[in-house]
């Protein structure tokens, strides 16, 4: 909630809510315009709550990502000689989180021995989707669905997930 309120739109939304609440108490509107306005505000408030909830999940994941990268910021963080997670990889991973579409379950995140960040979805014991984000714009990923499994690489341009990644992920999560 607090992070949403720090956004320009959030401040505006809070302002609109306060203003609306000041002069439009429940059942006090008598004109058709007031009723229409009240209905519009309720719809807007409902949409805002959904947006806040989704942003909250992503904000929480980004916060976890920062903690993870701090833990793995030096070589040999695992005792087996793993490479440190760089600031560049951290930024790429954050970009990936922001590009996750609404409605997709949030993944678990891990650091990998080559200093990349793994996004893991483990919906059941027999289903896995795992994707690595490094400093390149190509995403390596793999999936297991019962006895079927595979792997691929796709280009990530930073604003949205590649269609094939999204398709495989949605299939695993369905």
């Amino acid at each position: 909630m607090s992070e949403t309120l720090l956004q320009p739109g959030g401040i505006l939304a809070l302002g609109a809510g306060v203003a609306w609440g000041a002069f439009a108490l429940p059942d006090s509107g008598v004109s058709p315009e007031a009723i229409s306005l009240q209905k519009s505000f309720k719809e807007y408030a409902s949409h805002l709550e959904v947006s806040e909830s989704l942003f909250g999940d992503k904000a929480q994941l980004i916060s976890h990502l920062n903690e993870l990268c701090a833990e793995c910021s030096e070589d040999d963080w695992d005792g087996y000689g793993a490479e440190a997670v760089s600031d560049t990889v951290l930024l790429c991973a954050e970009t990936f989180i922001r590009a996750l579409p609404d409605g997709i379950a949030m993944p678990e995140i891990s650091a990998e021995p080559d200093g990349q960040i793994s996004f893991d979805w483990l919906p059941t014991k027999t289903k896995t989707f795992t994707l690595s984000v490094g400093s390149s714009d190509r995403l390596a990923y793999a999936w297991i669905d019962g006895s079927n499994r595979g792997h691929a690489v796709d280009l990530f341009e930073g604003d949205q997930l590649p269609p094939r990644v999204l398709g495989e992920l949605q299939r695993i999560l369905s």
Partner: protein
């Protein structure tokens, strides 16, 4: 000829194999082993494991911390050797430290590093699904 530990040089299919877990966020969650626990070291392309089960678990902990010098170890991802061979990987047992082996045969592609990574992730994810998470 047996190795100093008394184990044969060739790892048997029914041997229990332990991968010591050293990162609570990257090697497992509260119930399952993650693929990250089974990804090989990028420097030598090998996955370090112990030819040992988890019974008694106190001996696993001693091995991890004293023999293998893994101070952060908090548990093992336990798997049977045959599961590792099912994904077309194999073992090189060197017994240094005692009962140590490397899982070898991981795909690496200098011409397409990301594709090699995707191949390794698939194998590691398959191993993670078969592994049992046991904490000290």
């Amino acid at each position: 000829m047996p190795l100093p530990s008394g184990l044969p040089e060739t790892v048997a299919d029914d041997e229990p194999i332990s991968r010591f877990m050293t990162s609570k966020s990257s090697h497992c969650n509260t119930t399952a082993v993650k693929q990250g626990a089974f990804l090989p070291n990028p420097k030598d392309g090998r996955l370090s494991v112990a030819r040992h089960g988890a019974d008694p678990i106190e001996e696993s902990e001693r091995m991890a911390k004293e023999d293998y010098k893994l101070e952060k170890a908090f548990g093992v991802a336990l798997i049977q050797a045959k599961e590792i061979r099912k994904v077309e990987l194999d073992f090189e047992a060197d017994d240094t430290p005692l009962r140590h082996a490397d899982v070898v045969g991981w795909p690496w592609r200098e011409d397409d590093r990301e594709f090699g990574k995707a191949e390794r992730k698939e194998k590691a994810a398959a191993l993670a699904q078969k592994a049992e998470r046991i904490t000290f």
